[in-house]
């Protein structure tokens, strides 16, 4: 019997921690993990709202869960391309510090 409020507040807090990680850290891998954390926070809100709708209507409701399914698929695609980019940047610049990656020229 947990209020819906609590889930939404937890989702907002996790999202803010993800934003904080993106802003504070200089390591692109940890920035990527923070983005994953933000996606995860949004997923939690999706499932919580879906459950709330389900209880309010009294019949099964799957759209929230299916949206989370799509978000997971998009996150997997994003991670594959993003990590390939990070490895390429490391190969050319020999560093992963994003302060040193400030030019588009390879």
């Amino acid at each position: 019997m947990t209020p819906l409020n609590y889930y939404i507040a937890l989702s907002a807090i996790l999202f803010s921690i993800g934003v904080l990680g993106v802003l504070v850290r200089r390591n692109p891998l940890i920035i990527f993990m923070s983005i994953e954390l933000m996606l995860n926070a949004a997923n939690l809100a999706f499932v919580a709202f879906g459950r709330s709708f389900e209880i309010a209507n009294g019949k099964p409701f799957f759209s929230g869960q299916i949206f989370v399914f799509f978000v997971i698929a998009v996150a997997a695609a994003e991670v594959a391309v993003g990590l390939a980019l990070i490895v390429e940047i490391f190969k050319t610049k020999n560093t992963v510090n994003i302060d040193d990656v400030n030019s588009l020229k390879g």
Partner: protein, 179 residues
């Protein structure tokens, strides 16, 4: 009733602590492991919300596949911590301030202005895993068939993109030795 609330609060504290640990740990491998813990706790929340399939997909895809990929790249690039940034010394306190403002503002906008008074009853035995999965699959392959197919194309494009990015240019010679 109170036991559900206690379970929620304990899990929420673990989730927030592991997220903070991820955002602030200097060792990248520790950060990845904190994130795995966070994903598993969120999967337990999905179970509490009556979404067993999403919980298992979260564990296999996120905590399994994606984080293994992360750890693999961390091992490839080295785990050394980076020195603190010299270029923008005021960035860190400002970022913390802005993140706190964002958290307070989003909670205020989502909850204080439009109170969501509903309580979520934990799923009982009436949520049968097999039945739940069957109905979800029916919805996915009827109402959401087009997005599903687009997702498959997206995954194909991502796969081709990753291969193209990591394919070595013959003219560039032995640049891959740096890794």
């Amino acid at each position: 009733m109170t036991s559900d609330l206690i379970v929620f609060i304990v899990l929420a504290l673990i989730a927030i602590a592991s997220a903070l640990g991820m955002a602030f740990s200097q060792n990248t491998v520790y950060a990845a492991l904190y994130l795995v813990l966070n994903f598993i706790v969120v999967a337990v929340f999905y179970l509490l919300l009556g979404a067993p399939f999403i919980a298992m997909a979260q564990i296999t895809v996120y905590a399994g596949a994606i984080m293994v990929l992360f750890v693999f790249v961390i091992m490839l690039l080295g785990v050394q911590g980076l020195p603190p940034s010299q270029t923008l010394p005021w960035q860190k306190p400002l970022a913390v301030l802005l993140a706190v403002v964002l958290a307070v503002q989003s909670i205020y906008l989502l909850l204080a202005r439009a109170p969501l008074a509903q309580t979520l009853v934990d799923p009982d035995a009436s949520i049968n895993t097999t039945n739940n999965l069957q109905q979800m699959a029916l919805t996915l392959f009827s109402d959401y068939l087009l997005p599903f197919e687009i997702t498959s194309i997206l995954l194909l494009v991502a796969m081709v993109g990753a291969i193209v990015l990591s394919k070595h240019d013959k003219k560039a010679g032995t640049s891959h030795d740096a890794a």
